[in-house]
């Protein structure tokens, strides 16, 4: 049997759809209701409660903790204040991305790092000789994401922390009812939202408390299908889908650097030696060969392609996660890795790896679509990411 998360006894009876999927060896709900639409709209207009416990979590502590993490990740951790959170990738010596995640500075010498893949061995091997301990906290800590415009109101009703003062990508400690939690103002939806980290033994009580307090604010248990659409709108990459972690890449061309993933902003070449720095320096000098950008598929082009067979545009009901060719003229210059119809933006959007020469904003390209069993090409325009970035996320 696959494991249920610490919330499984609560999520299982709620899952009317019996629609489950795997995530890091756990089963999690794809959607609770028979369709995911209400859950998606909870993210954007109310509050969604999402079980994100399968994330890998590592506690990194010791007097060399900052020095160690600064050597691992591409961001400058010396600039990370206590109670600040940083998102970023980490690389191998060749400057190719191993994983990406958030780093919480819990104290001067204490951090929690989250990741999509297991990283214990990588971290331990780099830590040799440093005064730092790395503890796999994945099973001991459960996590819930509370995302959406009413999420703050819900927390304010039951949490003793000062949430009005908690800025984007900051964390605080507090109690929800009487349950000790860490609250980070982070998320994978691009909306106002929080992630709540709790000792596994308290997980069920936390779920109950949030659901009770959230009812007047439209709280909705939400599955991965809805989350997937919101994270594409937010331009957030998914490991194993939008890029292949370097340790799992069988051939060189499957690996990506942070620059190629559009994460150049998270690479601090000016800081002292970190893993992959010299390779990234070289790449920065010559410029990356690829870059991940957004594509907006042209509605008129979709209409024309479908009109040929007598249909209106057929839109994907859920986000897709397949590799789709992208063309400039006759030449394939890239591939999209995830895409969806954005219910909020009313646009067909996709994340795509593009050759740098074709990645300029507003460049007109074509993305492959399938119309009645036939491969066609729809016009698509290159955009910056994120597609959707509401003010409330930071306010």
């Amino acid at each position: 049997m696959l494991r249920g998360t610490p919330f499984h006894t609560r999520t299982a009876p709620l899952c009317q759809a019996q629609n489950w999927r795997r995530w890091a060896g756990y089963v999690v709900a794809s959607s609770y209701e028979l369709t995911h639409e209400h859950e998606y709209h909870a993210i954007r207009s109310a509050a969604a409660l999402i079980d994100v416990s399968p994330l890998y979590k590592y506690l990194i502590r010791g007097s060399d903790a900052e020095r160690f993490i600064n050597h691992v990740v591409t961001r400058d951790v010396s600039k990370c204040a206590v109670h600040q959170v940083m998102y970023g990738p980490w690389c191998d010596e060749a400057g190719k991305v191993i994983d990406d995640g958030t780093l919480q500075r819990l104290g001067e010498d204490s951090f929690r790092l989250t990741s999509g893949e297991p990283n214990l061995r990588w971290l331990q091997d780099i830590a040799v000789g440093l005064r730092v301990s790395i503890e796999d906290d994945s099973d001991a800590t459960a996590a819930l994401a509370l995302q959406g415009p009413t999420s703050r109101d819900i927390l304010k009703d039951i949490c003793d922390a000062d949430l009005d003062q908690l800025k984007f990508f900051r964390l605080t400690f507090g109690r929800i009812t009487d349950i000790p939690v860490t609250i980070t103002r982070t998320g994978y939806t691009g909306d106002l939202g929080y992630e709540i980290w709790v000792e596994t033994a308290q997980a069920i009580r936390l779920w109950d408390a949030l659901l009770d307090a959230g009812r007047p604010h439209g709280i909705t248990p939400t599955g991965i299908l809805a989350l997937d659409i919101s994270r594409i709108e937010a331009g957030l990459l998914l490991i194993g889908v939008d890029y292949i972690p370097t340790h799992r890449a069988l051939i060189e061309s499957r690996k990506s650097s942070p620059f190629e993933l559009g994460l150049g902003w998270a690479v601090r070449l000016e800081k002292d030696g970190f893993v992959g720095r010299s390779a990234l320096m070289d790449e920065w000098r010559r410029g990356p060969a690829w870059v991940v950008k957004g594509l907006e598929v042209d509605w008129g082009s979709l209409e024309r392609n479908h009109a040929v067979v007598g249909l209106p545009p057929q839109l994907p009901a859920t986000a897709w996660r397949t590799s789709v060719p992208v063309y400039a003229g006759k030449k394939q210059i890239g591939y999209a890795t995830s895409g969806c119809w954005s219910p909020t933006l009313k646009k067909y959007i996709a994340l795509a790896h593009l050759r740098s020469a074709h990645a300029e904003r507003e460049t007109q390209l074509e993305m492959e679509i399938t119309v009645e069993h036939q491969r066609k090409r729809a016009l698509a325009r290159v955009t910056d990411l994120p597609f959707f970035d509401p003010d409330r996320k930071r306010d």
Binding site: L2, R3, A24, G25, L120, R121, W122, D136, R248, L250
Partner: protein, 527 residues
């Protein structure tokens, strides 16, 4: 001469390689005859009903490396080949725990994590590296070995191709390959893992069929072979053949017959007839002579060149190389008919773990001590065992509700102190059952019948010299351009029109059929 009709080729030995060879020659329109000494074909690839109602894969028991091109080209599934997956490996531990590796990646990861969080991650990285290295050496498995000292254009072309191929290897992979070639499997795995039963079970694949221990240098290379099957793009080309291993030979024989080959059983060849340096046919034990344009031997090099060919027909240096060829048997088989399933102390009762392999390899030290016994002429008192229960996968192997168990046992030296006899055979069987009973206490009462096969039995009954299951050890000094002897690795022999196609030629070992196929292609090149 009794030769009523002349054959294009007569093949000595109806083992799987002989049958593959015959099928390919027949496919090219040749008139082919296979001569098998026993009453059934298959050689060591054989299923026999040793005890009424119970079918035993008497010797070879899993199919791991059967070449996908052979399956395709001979259309073996149409001729009855059906490979069922062996999905898991469970290693019982002396403390009552176990280490399981399952078909599902997440389950395996969680299980490894339970023993060692680091190993859970290392295991995936190790798999990726092995994938790369197996991909790198794959061309070698499918090519006729070139002679590195020769200036013949064909050899030079092959060497050039190999050189180019290896130059394309990533430096990290090149170094890893070099380490694999030179290190012991225990040392190599120590660089990766810390969990003892994991290291031991993985290192066991480096010692199977060799007279070496997990700490003997050179054994690491054999680890790679376990990953070869995974890169050929044939989903689950490894596993257990429905009907037992003999079904593989039956399928190849059926394909060969369909292509026009004749197969005679109970026909023992006593001599290869050589005239003026050319093979012209064979003589049978009963005096019958069969002439053929080409004679192909699927037997091991010792039998072929030291028993069937007059010494005067062979150059002295070649004969010397064949005499020095290492073919020490090191393993035995114990096959059990069971009235009930074994119940493991670590995982009591029936369960998915009984559909896979059970490996008695609790630690590297355990394996090395098993080898120590053999080094000094004794069978291991606590041997390494690779156990499967074929009736759990294919119910047709035993009567309903009953089971057969196949136990591969190492070490059992051919050169046993005082020699093998009935008493020693049973003592060996007892050592195996007693060891197993430490992990599955109900086993003794479950046994309805016990078949013990020693290296001596393998030699006498199955014509495997010294009971070596690979027709010669798979150690580096006997592989590729040294298998079985320098200069004679292209399936030809010093006797014109006499060819070899058994596991004693490149790439050798396991039920791959590669030797039989490559030999056929060489014979057809010669016309």
């Amino acid at each position: 001469m009794a030769a009523a009709k002349a054959y294009d080729a007569v093949i000595i030995g109806g083992g799987h390689n002989g049958l593959v060879n015959a099928a390919y020659l027949a496919r090219a329109g040749k008139r082919v005859l296979v001569l098998e000494k026993r009453h059934i074909v298959g050689g060591a690839t054989v299923t026999e009903e040793v005890f009424p109602g119970f079918k035993f894969s008497v010797l070879s028991y899993v199919v791991s490396l059967l070449r996908p091109e052979i399956i395709r080209e001979l259309d073996l599934p149409k001729h009855g080949l059906e490979i069922l997956p062996l999905e898991s490996t469970v290693t019982p531990m002396p403390n009552g725990d176990y280490l399981g590796r399952w078909a599902d990646h997440d389950l395996t990861r969680r299980e490894l994590y339970r023993h060692s969080p680091r190993d859970a991650e290392a295991y995936d990285d190790f798999g990726t590296l092995m994938y790369h290295l197996a991909y790198a050496v794959k061309p070698i498995m499918g090519m006729v070995p070139p002679d590195p000292t020769s200036l013949r254009p064909r050899d030079l072309r092959s060497l050039l191709r190999l050189g180019k191929h290896f130059r394309g290897l990533e430096p990290a992979h090149f170094y890893a390959l070099y380490k694999l070639m030179t290190m012991s499997s225990a040392d190599y795995l120590d660089e990766w893992f810390e969990c003892e039963p994991l290291k031991a079970t993985m290192s066991a694949s480096g010692i199977i069929g060799t007279f070496l221990g997990p700490r003997s240098p050179g054994t690491a290379y054999v680890l790679l072979h376990h990953y070869m099957g995974e890169i050929d793009g044939v989903f689950r080309a490894w596993g257990f053949a429905k009907g037992g291993t003999g079904a593989v030979a039956e399928a190849i024989a059926a394909a060969a017959r369909r292509l026009g080959a004749e197969i005679r059983t109970e026909a023992t060849v006593s001599q290869v007839i050589v005239k003026h340096g050319r093979a012209v046919g064979v003589a049978l034990e009963d005096g019958e002579e069969i002439s053929a344009r080409v004679v192909v031997s699927g037997l091991d090099p010792k039998l072929t060149f030291l028993k069937l060919v007059e010494p005067g027909e062979l150059p002295a240096d070649f004969l010397g190389a064949i005499r020095r060829y290492k073919i020490r048997g090191s393993s035995g088989k114990v096959n059990l008919a069971l009235g009930e399933l074994p119940s493991l102390t670590c995982l009591p009762g029936n369960g998915p773990h009984l559909r896979g392999a059970i490996s008695i390899s609790p630690s590297v030290e355990y394996l090395e001590r098993a080898y120590d016994d053999a080094k000094y002429g004794e069978f291991s008192r606590h041997p390494y065992m690779d156990i499967i229960i074929p009736s759990m996968i294919d119910p047709g192997m035993a009567p309903p509700g009953k089971h057969v168990m196949s136990i591969f046992v190492q070490y059992a030296p051919f050169e046993l102190n005082g020699g093998w006899n009935d008493q020693k055979r049973e003592a060996f069987g007892d050592a195996v059952v007693n060891t197993l009973a430490q992990f599955a206490p109900n086993i003794k009462n479950a046994i309805l019948h016990r078949q013990v096969v020693t290296p001596w039995d393998m030699q006498e009954e199955y014509s495997l010299t010294e009971g070596n299951i690979f027709h010669g050890e798979l150690s580096l000094h006997q592989l590729f351009f040294l298998r079985p002897a320098p200069k004679w690795t292209d399936y030809r022999t010093p006797v014109t029109n006499l060819y070899q196609c058994g596991s004693g030629t490149h790439p050798g070992g396991g039920i791959s059929g590669a030797s039989g196929r490559l030999a056929a292609l060489e014979i057809l090149r010669d016309g």
